[in-house]
């Protein structure tokens, strides 16, 4: 493998972020109705319209909607008229952002709208996500995502890498931090000891170690170079972005590690830019898409995060986890903190597939050269 360049050749930044309130069930709004106010807001924040966008890219999945071509009705509502350059990935919106960022690298377009939506409430998520698995040997057994995450959590415990108390501590911190996030779904101040009284859903995962089931949508505007500076005073520059996938066969993976996260971080320049002498990465903020409390330690380790890093100050996916949205939202939350001046450098992470099979790492900073200030 020989990536032509692991560094961006053209500075591209997040210049606007919007999200819906994450809720357990949107009773009176469909996907399009959840998405449209978010798209309107992401433009209004910086005084642009869709006609100012060079490219549109979205991420969503038909299996949540239960109908084919579910991205089409969303696109119809966004209203790509006159016709626009547009594409869609059947992936979390974080990968749509990657596609848009790639296109902006070529230098011919300066702006892109990225959005995603996911409404998990209408379906039985544990059965739907079982359909992501090998259709011949695995899916017919209906192993659900909680059971697979529990295998991973047990492997961590068996390896002496984590305890149930660690999982409870992650959940308690996430829910407490979510009290400061008006869009979060699960926000409570509870001690880890209190959480350990929860019943097991699938041992060793208790209720609090699972992500909530969430309906939601998010949107981001990307802009390149001078265009980004024209639109906002303090853009959140993407200093590197990369993603990697692992094998689907769980038995062939070491579930206590995330080599794909580590490799993506390497390719995104995270270690080169922010790894200090000890090797620890000392960014201000990390927004990690680790839906199960047991997974946070795995990704932290792969990213070599210093203890000083504020992890998931938004509350993260344990406070709101709209499928197909939560990864893009990590980038949005991290970028928001740079744009509002509360952080100078940040790492955002997105995941897909069972037990962190596929991972994306996006490095962000207040200056395009990666300096935080």
């Amino acid at each position: 493998m020989s990536p032509a360049s692991s560094k961006p050749v053209r500075p591209v930044a997040v210049v606007s972020v919007a999200q819906s309130r994450s809720v357990r069930r949107e009773d009176h709004r469909n996907e399009v109705e959840i998405l449209m106010p978010v798209v309107t807001e992401v433009f209004a924040k910086i005084g642009v319209t869709k006609n100012d966008m060079g490219f549109v890219c979205s991420g969503s999945t038909d299996y949540l909607v239960g109908a084919p071509f579910s991205f089409v009705s969303a696109l119809d509502a966004v209203g790509v008229w006159p016709p626009m350059r547009e594409s869609h990935v059947e992936m979390d919106g974080a990968w749509a952002l990657y596609e848009a960022w790639t296109l902006l690298q070529e230098g011919e377009l300066d702006t892109a709208l990225v959005y995603s939506f996911g409404r998990s409430s209408p379906s039985d998520l544990r059965r739907v996500l079982a359909l992501q698995l090998d259709p011949y040997y695995l899916a017919p057994l209906w192993p659900d995502p909680v059971a697979l995450a529990a295998l991973q959590a047990q492997a961590l415990i068996d390896a002496g890498r984590a305890t149930e108390g660690d999982f409870a501590a992650v959940a308690a911190r996430s829910r407490r931090d979510a009290l400061g996030n008006p869009n979060a779904q699960v926000a409570k101040d509870q001690a880890p000891e209190e959480l350990l009284a929860d019943d097991y859903v699938v041992a060793p995962l208790r209720r609090h170690a699972l992500p909530p089931i969430t309906d939601g949508a998010a949107a981001v505007v990307l802009a390149a170079g001078d265009r980004a500076r024209d639109l906002v005073e303090r853009p959140a520059w993407i200093t590197g972005i990369d993603h990697r996938i692992e094998t689907h066969a769980l038995g062939a993976r070491d579930l206590t590690a995330s080599p794909s996260t580590a490799l993506a971080a390497e390719e995104a320049g995270v270690f080169e830019r922010w790894g200090s002498g000890s090797g620890a990465v000392a960014v201000d903020v990390a927004e990690l898409h680790t839906p199960y409390a047991s997974q946070e330690g795995v990704v932290r380790h792969a990213l070599r995060l210093a203890d000083s890093v504020a992890v998931n100050p938004s509350g993260g996916p344990l406070a709101a986890n709209a499928l197909m949205v939560a990864g893009l939202l990590r980038i949005g939350e991290a970028a928001q903190r740079i744009m509002d001046g509360s952080a100078g450098s940040a790492i955002a992470h997105a995941t897909s597939g069972p037990c962190l099979q596929q991972n994306l790492v996006c490095a962000l900073a207040a200056e395009p050269d990666g300096k935080g200030s």
Partner: protein
């Protein structure tokens, strides 16, 4: 500036109604292996994988790229999954090409597939949705009225669709990978076939196929250093355009997004007269009448006169000045998610001189095209033998 990118390897499977001898992984791996062999590369040479397919319900597997990662040698690499409706095979190739054009990677494997026999596409297309007009009984019912509108608007005679259906099936006989090989295809056979969605007869529509296509896309540095005998097919232009499904005043016969996409790709390639400057085209024609409709939309004929080119035989492999769908096209093979990629890779084969019995002599430039949704998503590329 976008960097140069070329197709340096192509591979496809035989299309057929049911590939019961392989799993989905086996199907995509067959196409990908052939593309790698053609490029004289190994799995370890590939930097990134971009896969596309139409709705997941066509097989009943949610986000199947997760399961397919090891079969496509993607472990440890970036893997993207594109879904843009029927245009997806073309869009997937374009997304992959942008990874090279943006300078991110030097060797990208792109794959598209459909294994329709694992599920039922007609059923998957007919799921009722609240507040949406049902797409009853699949795509033909949606497109028949649009074709009828074209016939009324252009005054095209009834037999034009039959001519296209016969021509593409005759050409398919020269492509060993084509699904339909109807040895005794004739005007009367098509004319006498059952009317499915008036004016679309059974033999004027595409089959349901299992199949996959794959390509290796490479940077200029890699393409220049290729040791294989096959020359690269250089990308001279590539573009995608989308528009909403419906709104008052939308021209569904000749959509603006189609015209804009063609104008963009021609401008990149420096083409002003497509009929004169393009030697061969693979254009997404799932229903026979879409040949004359796209001839007009893509600028090969003035509006209202596309059917005359078909009538004169201008689009035939034998004797035509602008052969369309020498492979037999979508009318002869339709693995839905891969159909666009087959168009894109067939023109790469034409430019590289590897199309065998359906090769057009001396191809210098070729157009690959795909469309999808309610005739609203378009992807196109122009490939050339010369470095752009």
């Amino acid at each position: 500036m976008a960097k140069r990118c070329a197709v340096v390897g192509v591979g496809q499977t035989k299309c057929m109604a049911k590939r019961e001898d392989v799993s989905i992984a086996g199907l995509v791996r067959e196409a990908a292996t052939r593309a790698l062999e053609d490029a004289a590369m190994d799995w370890s040479d590939i930097d990134a994988v971009v896969i596309g397919k139409a709705p997941d319900m066509f097989e009943g597997v949610m986000m199947p790229e997760l399961y397919l990662a090891p079969a496509l040698g993607a472990v440890g690499k970036p893997m993207l999954r594109v879904h843009t409706a029927g245009s997806v095979g073309g869009s997937t190739a374009i997304v992959a090409a942008h990874l090279v054009a943006a300078g991110r990677f030097e060797r990208v494997l792109t794959v598209a597939f459909e294994k329709q026999s694992d599920s039922d596409a007609m059923w998957a297309l007919s799921v009722p949705q609240p507040f949406s007009a049902p797409l009853l009984a699949g795509a033909g019912g949606f497109f028949a009225p649009i074709i009828r509108a074209y016939m009324r608007r252009s005054g095209a005679p009834d037999h034009i669709g039959i001519l296209v259906a016969v021509k593409d099936r005759l050409q398919a006989l020269r492509n060993p990978y084509a699904h339909l090989h109807i040895e005794d295809i004739s005007f009367d056979m098509v004319k006498d076939s059952v009317m499915l969605w008036d004016p679309i007869r059974y033999l004027e529509t595409c089959p349901s196929s299992d199949g996959a296509g794959a390509m290796v896309l490479a940077s200029e540095r890699v393409a220049d250093s290729m040791a294989t005998g096959r020359p690269p097919a250089w990308i001279h232009g590539m573009a995608m355009r989308s528009e909403p499904t419906m709104f008052a005043g939308r021209d569904q016969v000749n959509p603006q997004a189609s015209k804009d996409c063609a104008a963009d790709v021609y401008a990149q390639a420096g083409i002003t007269d497509p009929r004169a400057e393009i030697d061969v085209a693979e254009v997404y024609v799932p229903f026979s009448w879409y040949e004359p409709m796209w001839l007009e939309s893509l600028g090969f004929a003035p509006e209202g006169e596309g059917w005359k080119l078909t009538d004169e035989g201008a689009t035939a492999l034998d004797g035509g000045d602008i052969p369309w769908n020498c492979s037999g096209g979508v009318l002869s093979s339709n693995p839905i998610g891969a159909s666009g990629m087959l168009r894109f890779l067939e023109v790469a084969m034409q430019v590289r001189g590897q199309a065998g019995d359906h090769q057009v002599d001396g191809v210098r430039r070729a157009l690959g095209h795909a469309y999808g949704g309610g005739s609203q998503f378009f992807s196109m590329w122009v490939l050339g033998a010369d470095k752009p």
